[in-house]
């Protein structure tokens, strides 16, 4: 394999590992604030019980997100120097604003949120929780702005091969940004909903049937049931936006080779990039046209329109995009079915009335949000290839001239570390859940100290 494909795999591995944790912390921060505010309003200890458990998962996820995120800021330089050299005038300020307005906010107030409750007044602790949640969301905003600009660039001019900003408003509010940002925020909330529901169901099954578990489980299932239809709607809007701005991506998602009307929706196919056709198609007639244009005879773009005169392929490899998209949609449908069924049962019979298979189903879907989120990102990011910045900079032109062996060796090192850490992370979450179910206090010392230690 050459440096280009190895660098792509390395960046893909790093950013895939990284995104798992912000996907949790973005929404979990707001969920913790919700628990805290409910406790402030009602004084009921069950909200605080839920807060105390989930703040530990938050701390762990946050640490994983911070350290894997540092990797990203270096990889721009180590692997993709052409990116900053060409579009640094636009990417730079956006990244700088992320660090300045988000990273420090969340990192500093995280300390107060985690360890400061006995040292600061209650309102300041609630404010710290809010600022951490706000910080993670701001961080998501800036990075989505940059990512969206790479898909739908505008507000700039090229001078001597370097992009110069002409209109910051147009850059920030580029056409795909609002859809992508909303889609990602909803993905984060769904991921957290299924995480909380799954772990709470696990605790319930093994006998930890406390008021805190009950309230967390209910909040999570109702949250998921409310958000999943919204997400499906938002996904559809995002898809239509992509159809307008990046038709080649839509063509790859549908594995549609020839532009034309009455395009069927493929349920299964093995797209063959070399032969430029699909094998083993199973299709529903007219459905792709119907979904994308809302007419059975609507015209859907085909991949063959994106081949240059000289035979240069200007669309992504089809199979990866096609299948990532199907994994995302399939997971979304599973989420819809399970959350609505569980919510209906909860409304009628309460947590006690949930049948075993439903509880096991929730446990099985604990990390379904990760699957859908990764599959969605693969769809959109691989779907942008061969471009790094759509129409402006190709991925090939941005890669660093580093020996392939060096990229391969560091890639293996990263993969080993990531596999171990991911395993440890999942094990520890369930270990914490088992301890909580046994009624153990998760803090080292049982009694809080009322008197803070005086200053020197």
């Amino acid at each position: 394999m050459d440096t280009l494909i190895l660098s792509r795999i390395q960046f893909g591995a790093n950013i895939s590992f990284h995104i798992l944790f912000p996907t949790i912390t973005i929404a979990l921060g707001w969920v913790l604030l919700f628990f805290k505010l409910r406790f402030n309003a009602t004084g009921e200890d069950r909200w605080m019980e839920a807060y105390r458990f989930w703040v530990k998962v938050f701390a762990l996820s946050f640490a994983m997100g911070v350290v894997s995120g540092i990797t990203m800021s270096f990889q721009f330089g180590t692997n993709w120097p052409g990116f900053m050299e060409t579009v640094g005038n636009i990417a730079g300020p956006l990244l700088a604003y992320e660090v300045l307005t988000a990273f420090f906010l969340e990192a500093v107030f995280l300390g107060i949120m985690l360890f400061g409750a006995s040292r600061v007044p209650g309102w300041l602790h609630t404010l710290a929780t809010f600022l951490v949640a706000f910080g993670t969301t701001m961080s998501a905003f800036w990075i989505i702005v940059l990512n969206s600009w790479m898909h739908t660039p505008q507000g700039f001019e090229m001078i001597d091969g370097v992009a110069h900003a002409t209109d910051w408003w147009a850059i920030i509010f580029n056409p795909s940004m609002p859809y992508r940002f909303a889609h990602m925020l909803l993905a984060s909330f769904l991921t957290v909903s299924f995480l909380i529901a799954g772990v709470s169901a696990f605790r319930w099954i093994i006998g930890g049937r406390t008021a805190g578990v009950r309230v967390a489980l209910k909040s999570a299932v109702y949250g998921a049931a409310l958000l999943i239809p919204l997400q499906i709607y938002m996904g559809d809007m995002h898809g239509l936006n992509t159809l307008e701005h990046q038709p080649q991506k839509i063509a790859a998602m549908e594995a549609n080779w020839e532009t034309g009307p009455n395009v069927p929706l493929l349920l299964f196919a093995i797209p063959d990039d070399a032969a430029r056709e699909n094998r083993f198609e199973i299709a529903i007639p007219n459905l792709a046209s119907l979904i994308l244009t809302h007419h059975a005879d609507g015209v859907v773009p085909g991949l063959n329109d994106f081949v240059g005169e000289d035979g240069e392929v200007l669309h992504p490899r089809v199979a990866a995009v096609f299948w990532s998209f199907r994994v995302m949609v399939g997971t979304g449908v599973a989420m819809l079915l399970l959350s609505w069924a569980t919510a209906a049962l909860l409304l009628r019979r309460g947590v006690e009335g949930l049948p075993r298979p439903v509880l096991y189903g929730l446990v099985g879907m604990t990390f379904s949000g990760w699957l859908a989120t990764l599959a969605g990102w693969y769809t959109t990011e691989i779907g942008r290839q061969p471009w790094l910045v759509q129409g402006v900079l190709s991925t090939r032109d941005a890669v660093a001239d580093v020996p392939a062996a060096m990229v391969a060796s560091t890639l293996i090192a990263y993969l080993v570390v990531y596999a171990l850490l991911l395993g440890a992370y999942i094990l520890v979450i369930f270990y914490l859940a088992r301890r909580a179910a046994r009624g153990e206090k998760l803090d080292p010392r049982p009694e809080p100290r009322a008197v803070p230690i005086p200053a020197e």
Binding site: S68, I70, P81, A91, A165, V428, L442, I453, E456
Partner: protein
């Protein structure tokens, strides 16, 4: 000044200053928490918990200064970012894996099953060691002009060892401030041992830098510049002597001035760093690329500067708030 009439001149200068400031704050702040990790093998189990407690609320924000520093390099001097980081590809990868290990070990050692705790303690030490060594190595390579020759690598290995000792030293001074009793006495001993490594390290870089470049030699050893610059080495020498005297007499009665070694260590880092910055200016890639050649377009730098001017004081403000809230002696970390 004439310089301020042209933004293409003063903006790169301002950003080089901001980047330098971020690096300095980073090596002091993450220096002390990396140092705490490096000192782990010398501490017993109970002491490890207290040492972790002394950095717990801070380490996240401390590492953010690295992100800001490399971020400023990335956004203000994109050409230099690529040139420096591709040259340092391997040490950067080692550092990143080190940072990942220590950051997560911090959480895992407190939350994983007790039988794993020793493993995560080792990971915390190993991650801190990888991070410090690779940063020291990069410092050495940078001083030597980022070319991979055998003598340069040998020198970089030397600075790797020195920076590691230096971080352990500032970590020890932090533990002196945040602990009491036996742990504090231990930390004073650690710091006494570390002073000499620090002196050798600063000495090695100071001696090597002018040797590598005639330009830098002339900056330091021509008249009358040498006279204006004299306070820098003199101040460093005074701080070293002050540290040595203070450490020999510590702990003072009723734990007064336990912050003194940390403050003096910070001063020492600042003078050393100031000297280096003076040596290399105006180059950002040594002897190859000046800050003016590597800078982004003025209109992009300006929009970052506007944000920085508003946000940086705010960041300093709430960082001080956090350090005030968690002042005093460290205790085990508790989520309440």
């Amino acid at each position: 000044m004439d310089m301020f009439s042209d933004p293409a001149l003063w903006l790169p200068f301002v950003f080089a200053g901001l980047m330098g400031l971020s690096i300095l704050i980073y090596v002091v702040l993450d220096g002390f928490d990396l140092g705490v990790g490096l000192l782990f093998p010398f501490a017993n189990e109970g002491e490890k918990d207290r040492m972790i407690g002394s950095i717990g609320p801070f380490w996240d924000a401390n590492e953010t200064w690295l992100v800001l520093a490399v971020g400023l390099l990335l956004v203000a001097f994109p050409a230099a970012h690529g040139a420096i980081l591709t040259a340092l590809y391997l040490p950067v990868a080692v550092m990143l894996i080190g940072l990942i290990l220590r950051g997560v070990a911090f959480e895992f050692r407190a939350k994983a099953p007790p039988e794993w705790k020793r493993l995560w303690n080792r990971a915390f030490f190993a991650g801190s060691l990888m991070t410090s060594m690779s940063q020291g190595f990069m410092l050495g390579m940078y001083v030597m002009g980022l070319t991979w020759t055998l003598p340069h690598v040998a020198f970089a290995l030397l600075t790797a060892a020195f920076l590691t000792v230096g971080y352990s030293f500032i970590g020890a001074t932090w533990v002196i401030h945040k602990s009491d009793g036996l742990l504090q006495l231990k930390a004073i001993d650690w710091a006494k041992g570390g002073v000499w490594g620090l002196v050798l390290g600063i000495g090695a870089v100071s001696a090597a830098t002018p040797y590598v470049s005639v330009r830098i030699f002339d900056k330091w050893f021509s008249w009358p510049e040498a006279l204006y610059l004299a306070p820098l080495p003199l101040l460093s020498a005074a701080l070293v002597v002050g540290l040595w005297v203070a450490l020999r007499r510590m702990p003072f009665d009723r734990d007064r001035r336990s912050w003194l070694p940390f403050a003096m260590a910070t001063g020492l880092w600042a003078t050393a760093f100031g000297g280096m910055a003076y040596s290399f200016y105006p180059y950002v890639v040594p002897e190859k690329l000046t800050i003016y050649e590597a800078a982004s377009a003025p209109e992009s730098l300006f929009i970052i500067l506007v944000g920085t001017v508003v946000v940086l004081p705010t960041i300093l403000g709430y960082s001080i708030l956090a350090f005030t809230i968690f002042r005093g002696k460290a205790r085990e970390l508790r989520y309440d």
